[in-house]
């Protein structure tokens, strides 16, 4: 069971949250190749280790934020605003 520190509401149980998957994906220009566009839509980092991801406090303030979480231990390494660049340990 994760205890997630919502930047707005403080520590809450994980069942109040939903994970929105990998964060910091950059939308390419509209004239790129199909390969680049397909990679933007579908390819994912999926690391074994620290993963930078978006979460929403679904059953709380309904705000989105970012967090860095280890995909093996599930330890949350940092929580930071949705518009901020990656924050936390490197992979």
């Amino acid at each position: 069971m994760l205890l997630i520190k919502c930047p707005f509401c403080g520590e809450r149980d994980e069942i109040e949250f939903r994970c929105g998957g990998e964060s910091h994906i950059q939308r390419p220009a509209s004239d790129v190749s199909d390969e680049t566009w397909g990679a933007y839509l579908f390819a994912r980092e999926n690391p074994r280790g620290v993963h930078f991801e978006r979460w929403v406090h679904h059953a709380g303030c309904r705000q989105w934020f970012n967090l860095a979480r280890d995909t093996v231990t599930h330890e949350i390494r940092s929580v930071y605003p949705i518009t901020a660049p990656r924050r936390g340990p490197s992979q």
Binding site: D34, A39, R44, N46, R48, H74
Partner: protein, 425 residues
Amino acid sequence: MAGYPARATVKEYSAFRLLVEGLRGHTGWKPTWRAVEPKPRYDVVIIGGGGHGLATAYYLAKNHGVRNVAVLERGWIGQGNTGRNTTVIRSNYYYPESIALFDMSVKLYEGLSRELNYNVMFSPRGMVIAGHSRHDMELMNRWAGAMQAYGVDVGLISADEVKRRVPALDTKNKRWPVWGGFTQGRAGTARHDAVVWGYAHAADRLGVDIIQNCEVTDFRKASNGHVVGVETSKGVITADKVVISVAGSSSLLAERAGFRLPITSYALQAFVSEPVKPVLDVVSWSLATGIYVSQSDKGGLVFGGPLDLYNSYAQRGNFPTAIHAVGALAEQYPSFGRVRILRQWAGLVDVVHDSSPILDETPVPGLYINCGWGTGGFKAIPAGGWVMAHHIATGKPHDIGKPFNRKRFENGRLIDEAAGAGIAH
């Protein structure tokens, strides 16, 4: 090769052999497969000794005469997803491409024990899917129509018929009332360990080397970019062709090889109860809660539910999802509520956006990949192995495997079973 012919000519396992061995104190049995150290070179190296990797090796040897093959397994055979799934086999998918692939698999399962001379305990006991609202019934009607058009033995049944086939299911439950159901008669279960052991046994007898405790750490490439081998915990092994068949760890090996995949790894949990007397003779699945349950031959209730919905490489699963699965089972099947759970575990599943597999070459010449089965790889083991072996041996994709290419994520021709067949993720 010590002691084993390259092609098995005599059935090693039979009632007669059992009788003879019984008379001489079971002293004549040989290991089901040989323990070998890797040779320096193979024609084909398969990374991953799960069902799909071993089936690929078996069909390479059996169908295509490619026998200089090694299967490299990081742990033990049966330690990964093949030993962690809930053993359900079915082909009730929505799109014709998927139906062709999964129905091929069910048909191969039907003859598999004889084919491998190994009892995989395939039990086509039938599957009953319960719908809990008018909307569920409309969806099931649509699915059944599509599946029947492609020859899958599915049909709609009434709520009374659901109750008759699954007496333990509370069809008058206030929260999840059963409106009707949807069945596939040829669906069922098999002994999951026996499927990998059987493929390992049969592939070994055709000359395939099965090497356990051998982790692949990197790839060797020629100056033209072509893969020429792998680096492992047991040294460098060269090969003309290499296959990645590692389910939840696919992204990690793809990264070593220099490309990315449309895969996210999640934990999928499963549970088994203490053994009880026979209470359930079909596979029962609820559309509302996503809980599916069957009873093993030992009497344990084997059940599972939805994915743990955040990236994970932890083979244990998270508590909230476990509580959902157990709670839903206890509510929908009240008599199961007092049964104690023996074990809970998780496997790492490789989920793709359209919930359909990837059976293809990779950007690295000579390197192939079989991945993306997500929560449903066990049922597809024979077909996955068959079409990959064809692709590797002939250099051309098998007709049934062709739609499951990587290009679909560029040209948009997805096979969207996530939406089509109501796969719950």
